[in-house]
Symmetry: C2
Subunit: 309 residues, 2 copies
């Protein structure tokens, strides 16, 4: 059986690049046709449906262009049970478009609870449409190995994977992630390598990846060295300040420049219509152009790194 | 306006003790009348409803006995959108029983995402019944201050509160929480104190509490000293090995022995019917007896500590 890393490798090889589209439907930023989503007088059901309709269009933009999407569950939970219904529908629709789905859920809890999350979000509860369940998840490591174990058991028996927060892209991430000497992130990285040691594919990478902020370019080579077998998930491209030229250390395979990680952009694509140069353009056209531009930038940065290797 | 700490103080003073009932509906442990919850041939809706029915009975046991309950959201997410519907119903029903609700959700994410969680789970989205929204939440600090800020803003304007993971009760908690010298938990504790510094009530405690495993009794005095203004949430009583006699350092007020924290038991109460001494007893009677026993043990341990002060 092929595991997550090989499945991801095949999917990114097929499109020729490691770009990932984040689905973060911030209500305040949604284009006018979906304004009902932020209207407090509308019913919760209608508002959640508007978020779903927007995501459906974004999935249409993503289809065939990228290997995977990363929906952020908080923007669905905002609408409670109605939001969860739409979440499941969006995951299902992404699969219909042949997209892998990495659920940005950042769960982390003691083992018996973690087992429930692992079933709900990664393995699939009987009665839940298997197509409505994610292929990968982001997880929080604060509680240690036993909080990860139930997810690793799912990865073992399937071609699913997880991405553990190691060094995040937000401004205050250093408060705890740099605590100690060596810094905390190194201890998390060592655990990630250990957790993935039995879950490696033919690509050399494991089913246990790491979330590593692309806003810390100086650290990326260090992070990659500490995580030689972890597929990386690099958020923060575009809106959060990450740049294509800084990505090379995460992708150390000159002959397979897509291999080693996923580069995420969310707001920079979905809400490109708000940028001055897209003034007046239909939002979906703007999103399509922004995604094509990101793919081109990332491709070119990674093949430039190939030339300099 | 009175904040979370004062509201909690009044509610625990009214019952005279700081016991908290956790609602962790583990499917495998549910009594026979709710066995449909674990039947993979039943519909997801039916299964979720059985979990809800069980929680309703537990809330009946809790009502008038304890100040607050702590439902664990993972066991509801297990049933996707159906589970979230039941989650909202359970929170609403707890409020009908005059119980405070601390949602055990352990969320933690970058600020724009954290804002969505804070609205969804603590403040309430327009369109969501305010009674179906929690009074307090557990949160994960791994991403630092900006991941907490949106929740603190809700606490500022309301009488709601949060409990940040500082030192958890699971076996592998030491892997990261003891990283560095001083250990990571001390850095988290310092942040908790800072986050709560503007949110203190007349009791001296703030709206920013700390989750502190009662399975580390030797550390409890140290934790309390590092967190002088944080209401503590002590899981792990009973099933996870915590003992009443070890609790005293968390409750340093001889004249108000309920003040300073909440002591949680989940499985030890809900599934007391599985213990040998309750063989053959109806599960709800067993749960009632177990809760009364816990309350008595905790009361007596805290007043003994009062005598020795």
């Amino acid at each position: 059986m092929t595991g997550w890393a090989d499945r991801l490798d095949a999917a990114t090889a097929a499109v020729g690049h490691p770009c990932l589209l984040g689905l973060d439907p911030h209500l305040d930023l949604l284009p006018e046709p979906y304004a009902v989503a932020r209207d407090p007088r509308a019913s919760r059901e209608e508002r959640a449906d508007a978020v779903g309709a927007f995501c459906h269009e974004l999935l249409d933009v993503a289809a065939g262009r990228v290997a995977a999407v990363k929906p952020q569950i908080a923007f669905f939970e905002l609408f409670g049970a109605d939001g969860w219904r739409v979440w499941e529908d969006v995951v299902r629709t992404a699969h219909e478009h042949d997209l892998l789905v990495i659920g940005d859920v950042k769960r982390g809890d003691i083992s018996s609870t973690a087992a429930a999350y692992a079933t709900a979000l990664l393995e699939g509860t009987p009665g839940t449409d298997p197509a409505a369940v994610c292929d990968g998840l982001t997880l929080n490591p604060f509680l240690g190995s036993d909080s990860l174990a139930p997810f690793l058991r799912v990865c073992e028996g399937t071609d699913k994977g997880v991405y553990v927060l190691v060094r995040t892209s937000n401004p205050s991430s250093s408060e705890l992630q740099l605590h100690g000497d060596p810094p905390l992130w190194r201890a998390v990285a060592a655990l990630v390598e250990r957790w993935g040691s039995e879950l490696r594919g033919t690509s050399g990478y494991s089913a246990v990846g790491a979330v590593v902020g692309a806003t810390h370019p100086g650290e990326l080579a260090e992070l990659r060295a500490a995580l030689p077998h972890a597929p990386l998930l690099l958020p923060g491209y575009g809106a959060q300040g990450g740049k294509a030229g800084d990505l090379a250390p995460a992708f150390p395979h000159p002959d397979a420049p897509w291999r080693g990680g996923l580069v995420n952009s969310s707001r920079g694509i979905a809400f490109a219509y708000r940028s001055p140069e897209e003034a007046g353009a239909p939002w979906k056209d703007a999103a399509r152009r922004a995604l094509d531009r990101m793919i081109e930038e990332v491709r070119s940065a990674l093949s430039a790194s190939k030339r300099s290797t």
